[in-house]
């Protein structure tokens, strides 16, 4: 039993150790318990939320902006995937380490070497590139709108801090063709002009969101929380524009404007039966990819924004109203002097001529002002004004483009004494080329005015088309007046001022006009125009051409050939067969001969 006390001591010691151990364990457990209590009890929701926030990613799903198509569905504007290369300059140093994938080792790389590799890929000057990479800014755009290939190439270089941000860029594959109608958007995607602005609501679509949890490696955790509100893509817009006709008209009018060095010139092509606009061409057109390269006058169709005094083209309204309401017949006889006084106002013609005995049609053909006033006096001013209004003069034309010009047509009670007469031959009020085209469309379409249409339909993302309704046509003139007016217009092409608009095999009608253009100090220029209708047997197209402030002598100006070219192209493209029908215009003079000096 001598060992008993030792054993007791050992036992005592191990018991103490045990107690200490248990105490330490208890303390640790207590700390853990407290921590657990704090985490789970005091702010459980907060911590769970924090953890969730770490894992949860929410991204905005950008909708695709709708495309703009021409009448045959060819793309005029669409969105494409591009990248903005941006850099966090704080990460770019003169030298940095990078993992070499081939040797599987860290490698020291000089910035200059990377810049030298990167510059040709981005087609940038190396110095400029380096200047953009180096600095203190956390965000700096290196290059905007690069293609996916370039972006992939640039990312391969692995410059630290260089990132690619996906952006949608607008592509206008036809460049300046119809650029004035399409408009354009800014670098950061804000619509700035044309249909891009006015139809933004339809084109833009609605953004969606996607929320999901990711693991440490950035890969989505399957079966974890996930929610998605899909983005609704914007609608496509189908226009009534024909890109081929638009191009042809742009070339034709540019040729004409260059010939006369005009301030601006335009062509409007309209379908007679439907009012659809096939082309709105200007002598210069903005390329939506580079709007700064073009004068802002040409950012919108001048046929929509620029109004001018139409001159003799306006006589179409005067004669049609006289035929409709004044009891005038196309072969009524008038004595037409060179100069004539009406209520103290002396009206004269642009060129001196002998006094002729002429028909109503003859006055229209030769566009004599003195005769026009005699014809126009068959109806009162109020009626004449009423019909001008019905034709749409002085009223805005809604074709879905922003900022149109409605022209100026004052009511008759505000007219001065002279204006009663000047309005008869197309002065004292202003219209745009679109107004003029609309007037000819009305007269050619059996007297029924169709609302001009530019937007044919909206196409949903699922392909369903919604036709943009433009309502029924409104009758302005009778069928008979319309038929008579077409023959009057044919006379202009056959016997009058529009000879160059003739197209072999077809019956073509039209009316020329030269109005004075008002400048800062009164009238100091002209707008010369011609509007053609064809084929007269069954009118299909209206082509209205206007050239503003042409240079040179007014008698040399001629735009009839341009209208003829565009009309010929249209008839050919739309497979309108020639009829070889004889012209059916009226006699100009009441007695033979019909050919007399002007």
């Amino acid at each position: 039993m001598a060992h008993a006390p030792v054993a007791s001591d050992t036992l005592h010691l191990s018991a103490r150790r045990l107690r200490v151990g248990v105490a330490v364990a208890l303390v640790l457990l207590l700390i853990l318990g407290l921590r657990l209590m704090f985490v789970q009890g005091v702010d459980a929701a907060g911590h769970a939320q924090k953890a969730m926030d770490e894992r949860l990613r929410s991204i905005t799903l950008t909708p695709d902006r709708g495309s703009i198509l021409d009448r045959e569905g060819r793309v005029l504007a669409s969105s494409v995937q591009r990248y903005d290369l941006v850099v966090d300059q704080r990460l770019v140093t003169e030298e940095y380490k990078r993992w070499n994938r081939e040797t599987n080792s860290q490698q020291v790389v000089r910035l200059d070497d990377d810049v030298a590799t990167l510059a040709p890929i981005l087609s940038m000057d190396p110095d400029e590139l380096k200047q953009r990479l180096v600095g203190e800014r956390p965000y700096r755009v290196v290059l905007r709108g690069v293609t996916p290939e370039v972006k992939n190439g640039a990312m391969e270089v692995r410059v630290p801090g260089l990132l690619a941000e996906p952006v949608a860029e607008r592509s206008y594959p036809n460049g300046a063709v119809a650029g004035n109608i399409l408009g354009f958007i800014s670098d950061d995607g804000q619509p700035l002009e044309g249909l891009e602005v006015s139809q933004d609501e339809q084109l833009a679509g609605t953004p969606g969101t996607r929320t999901y949890e990711i693991g440490r490696d950035g890969i989505r955790i399957p079966n974890a929380e996930f929610s998605e509100t899909p983005a609704v893509d914007g609608k496509d817009i189908r226009l009534t524009i024909d890109q081929d006709v638009q191009w042809f008209a742009q070339e034709a009018i540019a040729t004409k404007a260059a010939q006369y060095n005009a301030a601006w010139a335009n062509v409007v092509v309209q379908d007679v039966k439907t009012g659809e606009i096939l082309a709105m061409a200007d002598n210069q057109t903005v390329d939506p990819s580079n709007p700064q390269g073009t004068d802002s006058l040409f950012w919108r169709p001048t046929s929509f924004t620029q109004s001018y005094e139409p001159g003799s083209t306006g006589k179409v309204a005067t004669f049609a109203t006289a035929l409709e309401k004044g009891g005038v017949k196309p072969l009524d006889e008038y004595s037409v002097p060179n100069q004539q006084e009406f209520e103290g106002h002396i009206i004269n013609d642009s060129l001196p001529h002998a006094t002729y005995d002429m028909t109503t049609a003859g006055i229209f053909t030769r566009s004599y002002n003195t005769g026009t006033v005699q014809v126009a006096n068959s109806v009162d001013t109020a009626t004449r004004f009423d019909f001008m209004e019905k034709l749409g003069f002085g009223q805005p034309i809604d074709i879905g483009l922003p900022g149109g010009n409605q022209g100026i047509l004052a009511p008759p009670d505000q007219w001065d004494g002279r204006q009663k007469y000047t309005t008869m031959f197309g002065q004292g009020y202003t219209v745009t080329s679109l107004h003029t085209a609309q007037m000819f469309q009305t007269v050619a379409n059996g007297g029924v005015k169709m609302q001009p249409r530019l937007i044919d339909s909206y196409i949903d993302a699922d392909g369903i088309e919604h036709r943009a309704d433009s309502g029924e046509g409104t009758r302005v003139y009778s069928e008979q007046t319309s038929q008579e007016m077409l023959k009057l217009m044919e006379g202009v092409v056959q016997e009058g001022t529009g000879g160059d608009a003739r197209i072999p095999g077809y019956r073509v009608g039209g009316k020329t006009g030269t109005g004075q253009a008002a400048g800062a100090g009164g009238y100091d220029g002209h707008t010369t125009s011609f509007t053609a209708v064809a084929p007269l047997d069954d009118p299909r197209f209206v082509v209205s051409v206007a050239v503003h402030r042409p240079q040179g002598y007014w008698r040399d100006w001629k735009v009839t050939d341009t209208a003829g070219q565009v009309m010929g192209y249209l008839l050919n493209k739309y497979n309108v067969p020639p009829t070889d029908a004889e012209p059916q215009h009226y006699d100009v003079f009441t007695e033979e001969p019909q050919k007399r000096p002007w």
């Binding site: 290059l143 905007r144 709108g145 293609t147 036809n174 063709v177 890969i219 399957p222 010929g568 020639p578």
Partner: protein
């Protein structure tokens, strides 16, 4: 001893006695099982013997089965989970591939659109020596009547080129222009441009391209 007492039929309780219910046909009198042919008195009784007690059920097999099923289920769940996770990676790869293809498609579409732009077509046609058409004539297929008088195209009537070719923003990277210098070089290396065909004067017959081969009638 073996003979069972014969229960007489009248001992059968009359179930309907005293009730209004119709009496059922009397049940067949109960009989004992027919005695065997050899005669019940001669049959020997099986001697009683000690039967070995059945083995006690341990339940081990059942537990093993349950465990196996559990493990199998866990294994399946694990496998499914691993597969799903791996598919997630595949999905990322496929998505990248999809993006890639979409972008390639987009680029090619853009190039096609660029080439189809009216002014580019006109320029191409013009460079091939094409000119604007002359007047046209039409044949009415119903009546055979010819209207209009077709005229030859004027060799000098080339399309004008006031409308510039679509511009390419952000330098030469835009579609339309060659997409990139490197791929182009590779493409050219991969597919050599077809050699310009050469024709002998007989084939050309005075023209710049050979006349189409016509089938000789009666051949």
């Amino acid at each position: 001893m073996t003979a069972q007492p014969h229960r007489p039929a009248m001992q059968q309780p009359n179930l309907t006695d005293g009730s209004a219910a119709r009496q059922l046909t009397p049940a067949a009198p109960w009989r004992p099982a027919a005695p065997s042919e050899s005669g019940s008195s001669t049959r020997r009784r099986t001697p009683l013997s000690v039967v070995p007690a059945p083995l006690p059920k341990t339940g081990r097999g059942f537990i093993a089965l349950c465990a196996m099923m559990l493990i199998a289920a866990l294994g399946v769940v694990l496998a499914v989970n691993i597969t799903v996770s791996n598919r997630q990676y595949d999905l990322v790869t496929l998505r990248a591939e999809h993006t890639d293809l979409t972008q390639t498609n987009e680029r090619l579409t853009q190039q096609a659109e660029h080439l189809a732009a009216p002014q580019n077509l006109a320029a191409q046609a013009s460079s091939l020596g094409m000119v604007m058409p002359g007047d046209i004539a039409a044949i009415d297929l119903g009546t055979g009547a010819v209207t209009g008088q077709a005229t030859a195209a004027d060799a000098e009537n080339k399309p004008t080129d006031f409308v510039a070719a679509p511009s390419v923003p952000h330098g030469p990277n835009q579609a339309g222009a060659e997409p990139d210098e490197k791929p182009t070089a590779q493409d050219e290396a991969a597919t050599p441009a077809p050699a310009e065909p050469e024709f002998d004067p007989a084939e050309l017959n005075g023209g710049s391209i050979p006349a189409p081969q016509l089938q000789t009638p009666g051949r």
